[in-house]
Amino acid sequence: MPTSVRHPVMAASRAAGAVTLAAALFTAVMAPASGRAAEVVDVLGRHVTVPDHVERVVLGEGRLFYAMAVLDRDAPFKRIAGWQNDLRKLDAKTFDGYVAQYPEAAKIPLIGETSEQSVSVERILSLKPDLAVFSISGHGPTEHSPVADVLAQAGVPVVFVDFRVHPIDGTRQSFAALGKALGREAEATAYLDFYNRHLTRITGAVSSLPDTARPKVMLELLAGAWQSPGHTTGSGGMGEVIAAVGGRNIAAGVVPGAIGDISVEYALTADPDVYVATGSRNPGVLLGAQATADEAAKSFAKVLARPEFAGLRAIREGRAHALWHEFYNSPYNIVAIEALATWIHPKTFGDVKPQQTLQELYSRFLPFTPSGTYWIDDAPKS
């Protein structure tokens, strides 16, 4: 090890130059392949060229399968070459139901666990995907992640979708993009027709309501399961849904980012007209696939008995309801939209039947039989 180098700057710049040259050479030999077919515009407004017959799809979040199941109804797992493990970890009961019906679902290779940093880009490349579908936010690789950049270099088209940042518009744009990318335009259009029909019935009736006619809503995410009471969302995500169905989210304008905890004191002073808890697992509200109505009701009663909010007028007067948490990141959110609408404006939407919509969703668009409890209409009055 010499104690001094005569021209460290020159040596260093030569090394850097060599490295840059190698990179440039590499880029030059990696000319893009030809024979492209469809051009898809994704939710980020990117124009992505997708090959004609996509046979191998990698899902950046396992829960993006909720959308795939609608588009590939006849063989929902056939084209899935790899996915992340969040579906199994965060919605285990649904996953078990899938595996019971389609054992091959358990054998789909994993590209990562439940977080972006666990995703191995080399693993994705080795699965030789024709297409990668990523969510613009959440538990998988996002727009500027190194994963997306490397895939772009390898010529693997990446389509970004969104079911959580803007649940309503995101669902519409994502389905249009996925339908085109997967050669399933007819299925995508059919689903969007169903979605829009149910949606406009509600938004049309409440869009011109003045603020005073919009009930105040408190949405507590993962109530009882989250480490502190008052975990909620501001104006994005489910907050957007509350506004769309004619409610006023008490946390809008208070929670600046995606999620945050409002103080108990603020919630009590805001005095919401309607209280909604989301839940999926213990110790919160047990909802989702395989959850029985009885289990759900018992767990909800426990959540409502928490001393912080037990005194809320909405809870005392029985205007407390519960919703399956995963609706926040799913194209099936139309069911949640209807349920919320009937709770927030019971007189206006007396004829809206979310249970029928759920049945229609399963019978027309999904290859699975519904099981479980996805919301609770009436809480026991205290």
Binding site: M1, P2, T3, S4, V5, P8, V9, A11, A12, S13, A15, A16, G17, V19, T20, A22, A23, L25, F26, V29, M30, A33, P109, L110, I111, G112, E113, S115, E116, Q117, S118, V119, S120, V121, E122, R123, L125, S126, I136, S137, G138, T142, E143, H144, S145, P146, V147, D149, V150, A154, G155, R164, V165, G236, G237, P256, G257, A258, I259, G260
Partner: protein, 343 residues
């Protein structure tokens, strides 16, 4: 007299041998890092992709040239930077618990990165993949300059520096937490991801920059080795030898800030190596900084490279962030060395 010279020679030979062994171990770890991965490429494929990227399948070429090689080289480089910075920090602060991040360098970098991520800042019109490291670097290096300036106002030496550093760490953590609170949904994950540290952000340009800066700084560190060795004997002794301790400390801090800031900017904060690498090196070659500095850099490179291999091996097909693995890989070696020393 003769025996003394012979003893010294023997020690030097032993150290040179150790350096050679470490060089080989480092290369071996780097190679292991290049040949391991979930896609199960054969050695033959690998060699062909390295020698003639145009003749192999595009996916294979990307795996080798965009994933494995840059990650492996980046792990070695960042490890070396952390090992070298750590040993310099421990010497100038005379504190065995010091690391490159003791004075808040990585916390300040996290503030810069978070600002860039949350507000989509693009200074100098940089694309996002460069804006985040650029701001992380500006904040990290800027925080060190600020610290220096404040320490100059205060009379005492290293204690003041450490206390001000701690104040900086807490302020930066609070700022990052605040940014996470106001972050919209689509960037929240990126913030968390950044603070975990990962070599998966490596690109050849970044490797070129880091290698160039390390090659620039290392000779200056080596030139200061003798003064640093004297400083280990105590500040008073160093002063009596005619060493300008204040200047030595200042120059060393500038070097450490520069290389660590760039490393943190490119891969995020990776802990443990900068703290433990120097201790492992010290147990192997003692306090003579002429040997300690390069050995510590090599130990760091070896540790991070092994951690990078392990991060792929623990759960095949899934990456366990390297920042988590460094401790898992390093602790056993560390404990073994301590137990051997005690005997």
């Amino acid at each position: 007299m003769d025996t003394a010279i012979a003893g010294h020679r023997c020690r030097v030979v032993r150290r040179v041998t150790l350096l050679a062994v470490f060089t080989l171990a480092m290369l071996a770890a780097g190679l292991a890092d290049i040949v391991t991965g979930p896609s199960g490429l054969t050695l033959h494929d690998l060699l062909r992709a390295v020698l003639a990227p145009g003749e192999v399948e595009r996916t294979t070429a990307v795996i080798v040239w965009t994933v494995r090689l840059p990650y492996a080289v980046m792990a070695l480089l960042v490890g070396a930077v952390l090992g070298l910075s750590g040993v310099e920090m421990q010497t100038i602060l005379d504190n065995p618990l010091a690391s490159p991040f003791t004075l808040g360098l990585s916390s300040a970098a996290a503030v810069g990165a978070s600002l860039a991520i949350v507000f989509h800042l693009a200074p100098f019109g940089l694309p996002e993949s460069w804006a985040v490291p650029a701001l992380a670097f500006v904040f990290a290096f800027g925080s060190m300059l600020l610290l220096q300036a404040m320490a100059r106002l205060a009379p005492a030496g290293r204690e003041t520096l450490v206390l001000l550093g701690i104040a900086l760490v807490f302020s930066c953590h609070a700022l990052v937490a605040l940014l996470q609170l106001i972050a919209p949904e689509d960037v929240l994950q990126q913030l968390v991801f950044w603070t975990l540290g990962s070599v998966t952000r490596a690109t050849w340009e970044k490797i070129g920059i880091l290698a160039a800066i390390l090659a620039l700084v290392m000779p200056f560190s080596m030139a200061a080795a003798w003064s640093m060795t004297v400083l280990r004997l105590g500040e008073d002794r160093a002063l009596s030898f005619g060493v300008d301790v204040r200047r030595l400390r200042y120059a060393s801090l500038v070097r450490v800030s520069l290389i660590s800031s760039i490393a943190v900017a490119f891969v995020g904060p990776i802990g443990f190596i900068g703290l433990v690498g120097p201790h492992i090196a010290r147990m192997l070659v003692g306090e003579d900084q002429r040997f300690l500095l390069p050995t510590s850099a090599m130990v760091g490179a070896l540790l991070l490279s092994l951690a990078s291999v392990a991060s792929k091996a623990i759960m095949p097909g899934i990456i366990v962030p390297v920042g988590i693995v460094t401790a898992l890989v390093g602790v056993p070696a560390f404990v073994l060395l301590i137990l051997r020393q005690r005997r």
